[in-house]
């Protein structure tokens, strides 16, 4: 139990970082109505780009911006495969994800993982977040303001604010219409192909940014760090919806719910790890089962308790 409580700050920090990725998943899955599997690859792309650039002494914000842009490129690839080449979205995502496996390794100089040298205190100080900061703050060696929960929390708030503003603009509204009813969107002069590509780019940009933060936090990037990211993202989206769906109606609050959903997910995982002595290799199986159950619940509800669906009437033209 003590073990679990001691691990909580770390779990919350990680949850917040993955929450950014989950917000990216929310954009494709909930807003565009696309299940985008690119994220398993682009998450690592963000981490890889960041670690390599940071290791070369590039400014941290520039390195994070580069990670964001790399993720957007990955989204662009999936978007073009889907819209310009007519490949189903799921398959387009899988293709990009597979291609990214090689690209990510290439970015890391064909090594499976690249570490940030955090034994060098100068390097460590330059980071925005690090696992070590959790302990440093607890011991009083670092100001409270550097605590990862606070830093990533503020970061998340800023991302939510920007997204909230964006989806309120003409372009953002066009994007929402693209997902809600592509038929109507086109009749209103919206290029739904461009909308999808743009949405995929924004989503994967965020996912890569999240990957960049995680690689800082754990002080390394490795080629399998994004494995199952889509499942974690979906888990966060669904948990957020189940827990806050009834109370959070505003768009910004819905995004916040996703972030909190990711935190809950990591706390639960941490609890499982600390309170039982399960082999951690089973965690992915547990995640898959949890997400499968939560995805099935609305379907079962609809089948056995007839209730009008909120998402009725999207394009079945």
């Amino acid at each position: 139990m003590l073990n679990f409580i001691g691990a909580l700050p770390g779990a919350v920090s990680q949850g917040l970082i993955w929450g950014l990725m989950a917000i990216g998943v929310y954009i494709t899955y909930k807003i565009l109505d696309i299940a985008d599997l690119t994220v398993d690859g682009s998450f690592c792309t963000g981490g890889a780009v960041f670690v390599v650039l940071f290791g070369q002494g590039v400014n941290i914000w520039a390195a994070m911006l580069a990670a964001l842009l790399a993720g957007m490129l990955a989204g662009l690839a999936t978007g073009l495969l889907h819209t310009a080449c007519g490949i189903p979205a799921i398959l387009a995502g899988i293709l990009t994800q597979l291609g990214l496996w090689s690209i990510n390794l290439a970015i890391m100089g064909m090594k499976a993982n690249v570490a940030i040298n955090v034994t060098n205190p100068d390097n460590l100080d330059r980071l925005l977040v690090s696992l070590r900061f959790v302990q440093d703050v607890a011991k009083g060696n670092r100001p409270f303001i550097r605590h990862p929960i606070l830093v990533v929390g503020l970061f998340t708030a800023a991302v939510i604010a920007v997204l909230y503003a964006f989806f309120g603009t003409e372009l953002g509204a066009a994007l929402r219409a693209t997902g809600a009813n592509p038929n109507m969107a086109r009749a209103q002069g919206i290029n739904t192909d461009t909308g999808k590509v743009l949405g995929l780019m924004i989503s994967n940009g965020l996912v890569a940014l999240s990957g960049a933060l995680l690689s800082q936090y754990q002080s390394f990037a490795d080629s399998s760090m994004g494995k199952g990211a889509i499942v974690i993202g979906l888990a966060a989206v669904i948990i957020g919806q189940v827990v806050f769906g009834k109370v959070f109606r505003n768009f910004a609050l819905k995004l916040l719910a996703v972030s909190i959903g990711a935190i809950i997910y990591y706390i639960v995982i941490q609890a499982v790890v600390s309170l039982s002595n399960i082999n951690t290799n089973y965690l992915k199986l547990i995640s898959a089962v949890i997400v499968a159950v939560f995805l099935a619940i609305p379907y079962w509800k609809g089948r056995y308790f007839t209730k009008t669906s909120h998402k009725g009437g999207s394009a079945h033209a």
Binding site: G168, A180, K311
Partner: protein, 264 residues
């Protein structure tokens, strides 16, 4: 205003499901024409409207709107010229978005959408006034999700959206077919009003011969992918349903009983 020249469209060419849906359609509408379109199931009415709207490219022929050749423009670009209401009330609106958001999207049809705020304050009062005139109790529900509206309310809203930014051409494809008779009459009256107010060039598909005769200044009937009857002006005003049926059996060469079935 609208000029359709010799358009052909075959679906699923080269398969067992091959279907020649349009077989050389020519039609010219003048500015302000209100043309009703009738014909049996599968005659090609929706296909003709979809060809004009740009749902896909036609195999042959050309289409121009207001002098601009749109034959090769994609659907979303043609939307700058065209307002549309569909048969399915679900199809014309975004259900998960608010009424005001749907209207604001429609108000920007044909414009570049950038990073300006999606709804201005001025729009809110303007839409409220417009909805008030619809008399469907929607003026107080600007921020309700459209998914919560009834079919009739949605069609009325879609009509409003189609005409919000004055289109050069209004396409109505059996837009009252899914409504109960009373609501259908209301939406039809609203369509008439909107068309008359802005003098919109309009094509309206209907299965109701009486409606087709009563509304508009021109009537065409389609059969097997072609326009087989085309009446306008005084001739159309005097037209009766039995006359129309007789005309149809003459052109199609089939007997009257079948036609009643086809057109009912």
């Amino acid at each position: 205003m609208l000029e359709i020249k010799g358009i052909w469209k075959t679906f699923n060419a080269g398969t067992v499901n091959e279907k020649q849906a349009l077989r050389g359609v020519d039609l010219t509408l003048k500015e302000g024409d209100f043309c009703t379109v009738i014909g049996g199931n599968g005659a090609g009415k929706s296909t003709m409207l979809n060809a004009v709207a740009g749902a896909w490219a036609v195999d042959e022929g050309s289409i121009s709107i207001g002098g601009a050749d749109v034959t090769h423009l994609p659907e979303h670009k043609r939307a700058a010229y065209i307002g549309r209401v569909f048969q399915d009330p679900m199809m014309g609106t975004a259900p998960s978005m608010q009424i005001i958001e749907n209207l604001a999207l429609a108000a920007r049809r044909g414009q570049r959408r950038g990073l300006r705020w999606g709804i201005t304050r001025e729009e809110k009062t303007r839409y409220q006034d417009m909805l008030q005139k619809l008399d469907l109790g929607l003026e107080d529900r600007l921020t309700s999700k459209v998914g919560l509206l009834s079919g009739g309310q949605r069609q009325a809203l879609t009509l409003l959206m189609a005409s919000l930014k004055k289109p050069r051409l209004l396409l109505l494809d059996e837009h009252t077919a899914a409504l109960d008779p009373k609501t259908a009459a209301k939406v039809l009256a609203l369509s008439d009003k909107i068309v008359a107010e802005s003098g919109l060039t309009t094509m309206m598909v209907t299965h109701n011969m009486k409606d087709a005769i009563q509304h508009g200044n021109r009537l065409i009937m389609m059969y097997d992918g072609k326009i087989v009857i085309d009446v306008s002006g005084e001739e159309k005003k005097k037209l009766t349903v039995p006359q129309l049926l007789e005309l149809f059996s003459k052109v199609s060469g089939s007997d009257e009983a079948d036609d009643k079935l086809l057109l009912s």
